[in-house]
Amino acid sequence: MVGFWGDTDKIVDLFEEHEQTVQSCLDKFVKTIELYIDEGGSDKVKNLSKEVHNLETEADKIRRNIIKLLIKEKFLLPNTRRDFMNLLEYLDKVADYAEAALDYVILQDMDISEIGKNYLNDILNMTIEQYKLLKKAVSLLFENIDDAYEYVAKIEEIESQIDDIERILISRISKRDELSYGLKSLYRDFVTMIANISDVIEDAGDEIELIIAMRKI
């Protein structure tokens, strides 16, 4: 609705578009990593990797459009604009971190199947699940803010589970004597990088919690 209050629906639509693009980026990232574990740096993996880059760039573009709209429009209080910008930054980082983790393995041509396929798949699938909860929590800011708390709590739970897997994996890598120190270090960094995606999703959840708390009596 464009009027005295500005284009209120557009901000909600753009947020949804951004969330969906990040979701696609994350899905594609997981698919690429899974394929990379099986095939290594094949052409199919490279093509998928390109799609991840494109989706990340697309998410950036939408983010910039949201920021422009937040600055231009008059319907939000300055505090709310700042809160939305912070939240947007966290959401955008999800795509950034996925892209960075993918680049890390592909550019170094690492054999990550050595790390532990099942554990890696668990982290990736849980991250996707966690992001879906975040998407729902964000949409609830525009529908029913009280319900968003429930989703934020679930996001935190999953982050904690991913942390546990991360610790197990790092410990396993460290104990493997057949691996060189350099390789151990590369593997550890990769595990940390994919676990960081879950951390940033949790940060976005915390931001949502803060946004709600500041608007309650």
Binding site: D146, R215, I217
Partner: protein
Amino acid sequence: MFKLISGFFLGWALGSNDAANIFGTAVATRTIRFWTAAILTSIFVIVGAVLEGSGGMHTLGSLSSQTVNSAFITSLAAAITVSLMTYLKLPVSTSQAVVGAIIGSGIVRNTVNFRPLLKIFSAWIFTPIGALIIAIIFMKIYSKYIENYINNIIKLDRIVKIGLVIAGIYGSYALGANNVANVTGVYVKTGLVSPLQGALIGGIAIASGVLTYSRSVMMTVGKKITELSSLNALIAVLAESTTVYIYARIGIPVSTSQAIVGAVIGIGLIKGINLINKNTLKNILFGWLGTPTIALIISFIFTKFIN
């Protein structure tokens, strides 16, 4: 009419200081532009003064008889007190300065009627307490009956935005109705101007302060209030305006600064934050005792000198 100049000066000082308690939040959070706030304040201060400003004039008038000279000295002493305190960055209350100045001049001329003082002092003490209680009531009403219906951020922002403007207009009206007596009440008592003329001149004087010198105070005070959040700041301004308006109806000029402090403390209590510290209490006590005492001394000296 030249002798009205000190009243005008006092009104200007009042406007430049007190507009901050009303629109400070909205301006500091850039919810509305300074000039929109200043123009709205000016208009509604004059409307409030003209429509409901006579009650306070009667109360202040009952403290002492006035001549044109004593009215001039009283207003000048109060204006100097307010300016001095502002310069020294001490808490300022025009209402309390005016009462001190009336008594100071009245003591020299042996015309003070101490009887209305009890009513005035009680009003001063109950201003922050009343605002505190009203803020708590508003918070309870909001959380029980309204909060559940506003669970969308964009809707909430709209309501807070409209609310801050409405509360600002209401506060400006209450400020004019309550505080105009400080500005021209003593002149009305002399018969130099009629109550309506006094209200109009007083309202214009306050508006001149708002339009020319209130921006920096608005930003400073507004930022302090908004540390709470826009919604809580809105409730604070509404509680302050309601308190000041109640006293306008009773006919006793009170301090908007003390009303907003009381409201903010009330909100803090509900949120479980103790905002009552030594400094706050010291500032309120200084407003009750220090401000009228300084104004009394200045007015006493001036009247003695002129006599």
